[in-house]
C-alpha cells in the first residue's frame, strides 16, 4: 500500500534579476513521480542541486510546487494539509529546535502543537526508547551533535507519525554516532512500521538502510531501483592486481589486450573490466610470465552510481 504518492511534481524558480538575459526560469524539480510504500525506506539521492531538498520542502508544504499533486494516505495534501501533517513528521541535521529552551520545554511545545493526548507520558516513553533521560533538563544549544540528533528524532516521533521525512539526519555526526543513528532508524522501521523518505550523501548508509533508491539529477528522476539493483546496472568492475615482475611486462600485456588500466603505487595496477570478462582476464594473466601476488576485486557500489550520475555519465547504466 502506498502511503505517499507524488505525481508530476514540478518546481520552477524565477531567475529574474539573476540572469543577464532577463527573466527566466530555473527548473529545480521536473515532473517527478514516485511513491512510498508502507514500511519502506526510500532513499532520495543526487548531487548538490539535484532537487532533493526542494522536493522535501514541497512534500512538507513549505514550498509551493509549480504543478503536480501529492497524496498522503490517499488524501490530497493541498486540500487537506492539516490532516496529512498530523500523520507525518520531519527531521534534519540542518534544522534545530529552539536553542534557548530545554529539551523538555521543546518537546512539550511540539506535543501541544501535535495535540498529543498525554504529552508527559509520550515524552517519557520516547526518552526511554532513545535513552535520553539525562538530556531532558539540558538547554538544547548545549547538546552535542549526536545528542541533538536523538532529541530531533524524539520530536519527530511525538505525533506517532506514519511517515518521517529525513533530510541527511547523519550529516555532521562522527562515524560511531552515525552508526548508532542508522541502527535507530532500522529499529524504528521495524518497531513502529514507519515509512521513511531518506536523503543522504553517504552511499554506504543508503545501501545499508534503504529498500529502494531514487536518483535525481537536475530535477529529474534518472534511476530508480533497489541499491543492489542500481549497482548491478554498472557493467564494469575493477580488478586490482599486485605484481612482482617488471612493470614493462605487464604494461605490454595490457596494451596488447587493450585493457583500460591505471598504474598505482606499490606495484599495483587497476583494470576496468566488464564483469563477465573478469575470469577471462585473470586466466589470461595467469598464462603469462607476470607474477601476481594479490588480486582484489572491486565491485561497483552506490558511490560509483552516484559518481556516474554526478558526472553526467548516465549512459554507463545498463537498461533495467
Amino acid at each position: 500500500m502506498d502511503v505517499l504518492q507524488a505525481k508530476n511534481l514540478s518546481k520552477k524558480f524565477s531567475t529574474k534579476g539573476r540572469s543577464p538575459f532577463g527573466r527566466g526560469y530555473f527548473t529545480a524539480v521536473d515532473k517527478i513521480s514516485f511513491n512510498l510504500k508502507e514500511g519502506e525506506i526510500l532513499g532520495l539521492l543526487g548531487p548538490n542541486g539535484a532537487g532533493k531538498t526542494t522536493t522535501i520542502q514541497i512534500l512538507l508544504g513549505i514550498t509551493t510546487p509549480t504543478s503536480g499533486t501529492i497524496e498522503y494516505f490517499d488524501m490530497n495534501f493541498f486540500k487537506l494539509p492539516k490532516d496529512c501533517l498530523k500523520k507525518i513528521n520531519f527531521t534534519s541535521a540542518f534544522n534545530t529546535l529552539q536553542g534557548r529552551n530545554t529539551v523538555k520545554e521543546n518537546l512539550l511545545v511540539f506535543s501541544y502543537l501535535y495535540e498529543v493526548s498525554n504529552p508527559y507520558k509520550k515524552i517519557k516513553e520516547l526518552v526511554e526508547y532513545f535513552d535520553a533521560k539525562d538530556l531532558l533538563n539540558k538547554i538544547y544549544w548545549e547538546l552535542s551533535s549526536g545528542q541533538r540528533t536523538r532529541v530531533n528524532f524524539i520530536k519527530a516521533l511525538l505525533n506517532d507519525p506514519k511517515i518521517i521525512l529525513m533530510d541527511e539526519p547523519t550529516a555532521s555526526l562522527d562515524p560511531d554516532i552515525a552508526d548508532k543513528t542508522l541502527y535507530l532508524i532500522e529499529k524504528l522501521k521495524t518497531d513502529k512500521k514507519l515509512s521513511i523518505l531518506y536523503t543522504s550523501h553517504n552511499m554506504t548508509e543508503v545501501t545499508r538502510i534503504c529498500d529502494r533508491v531514487i536518483f535525481l539529477d537536475r530535477g529529474k528522476i534518472v534511476a530508480q531501483d533497489t541499491p543492489v539493483g542500481l549497482t548491478k546496472r554498472i557493467e564494469t568492475a575493477k580488478v586490482v592486481l599486485t605484481y612482482s615482475t617488471e612493470k614493462a611486462l605487464i604494461e605490454a600485456y595490457v596494451k596488447e589486450k587493450k585493457l583500460i588500466h591505471i598504474f598505482k603505487k606499490n606495484n599495483r595496477i587497476e583494470l576496468e573490466v566488464n564483469e563477465k570478462d573478469i575470469p577471462k582476464v585473470i586466466y589470461g594473466v595467469s598464462k603469462t610470465n607476470i607474477w601476481v601476488t594479490d588480486i582484489e576485486l572491486q565491485k561497483p557500489t552506490l558511490d560509483d552510481v552516484f559518481l556516474q550520475i554526478a558526472r553526467g555519465n548516465r549512459h554507463v547504466f545498463k537498461k533495467n
Binding site: 518546481k11 529545480a28 508544504g61 529552551n101 511545545v109 495535540e115
Partner: protein, 262 residues
Amino acid sequence: MSLKRIRAILAHELYITKHSYELINDLFLYPLWSIIIFGFMTIYIVGSGDQIIGKNVLLGIILWQIVNLVQYSISIGCLWDIWARNLTNIFITPISIGEYFTAYSLSGVVKAIIIMILASLLAYFVFKFNILSLGLANLLLIFVNLAFFAISFGIIVLGLLFRFGTKIQAFTWGLLTVFQPLMAVIYPVRVLPEPFRSLAYFFPPTYIFEAARYNLENKATAWSNLFIAFILNLIFFLLAIYFFKLMFNKSKDLGKFARLEG
C-alpha cells in the same frame, strides 16, 4: 482553531522569555525606562506652568507602550525561531496561520496589560499621574483599539519577515517608530504640518490618542474619534491579513520561506 496549539505557542513564548534576559529588557525594562524619562519631562513641563501638556505627554507615552509591545511581541516571536532554525519545525505541524496569530496576539496583549499596570503604578507613585482618571471603561476602549492596531501592524511586519527574512529584521523594532511621529502620540494632531496632518488621519492611533487627550482634558468620552478608530482598525486588520497572505504565499512560491533559516 485548536486551543492546544495556541497553548503550544504561548508556552514556547513563555519558555523563550524565561531564558532570554534581553527579552525581559525589551519587554519590561525599556518601556518603564521610557516612562521614567518622559515622567521627569512631565514634571519639568508642569513646573513651567502647563499642567495639561505635561500630563498629555505622559499619557501618550504610557499608551504608546501598548502599541509597541503588542506589535513587537507578534513580530519577534518568529525571529527567535528563524534565528534558531526552528521555524520549519513549527510550520510543518498542523498549526494554522490563524492559530499562530492568535497565540502571539494573546501573548502581546497579556504583556501589554502587565506593563500598563506597572506603568500606571509608576506614574501614580512617582509622577502623581493617575491614568484611571480617564475612567476604566474609557481606558479599556482605548486599550482595545490600540492593541487592535498593533496586532494589524505586527501581522504586516510578520508578512515582511516571512517574505524577506532576516535582512529586514530591524523592522521588528524599527518600522513602527517610523510612523510614530504621524500618530500624534504625545502632541495634538493639529501641530503637524500639511501634508503630514492629512496623512495622520489614515492611522487609527491618531484618533485614539486624540480621544485619550480629550478624555483627560474634558472628563468626557470622544465617541466619534473612538468609533472612527475602530472602523479604520477593521479596515487595517483586513488589509494586514490580505498583505500577510500575499507575502506568505509569495515566500512559499519563491522557496524563500523554507530557506529563512539556513
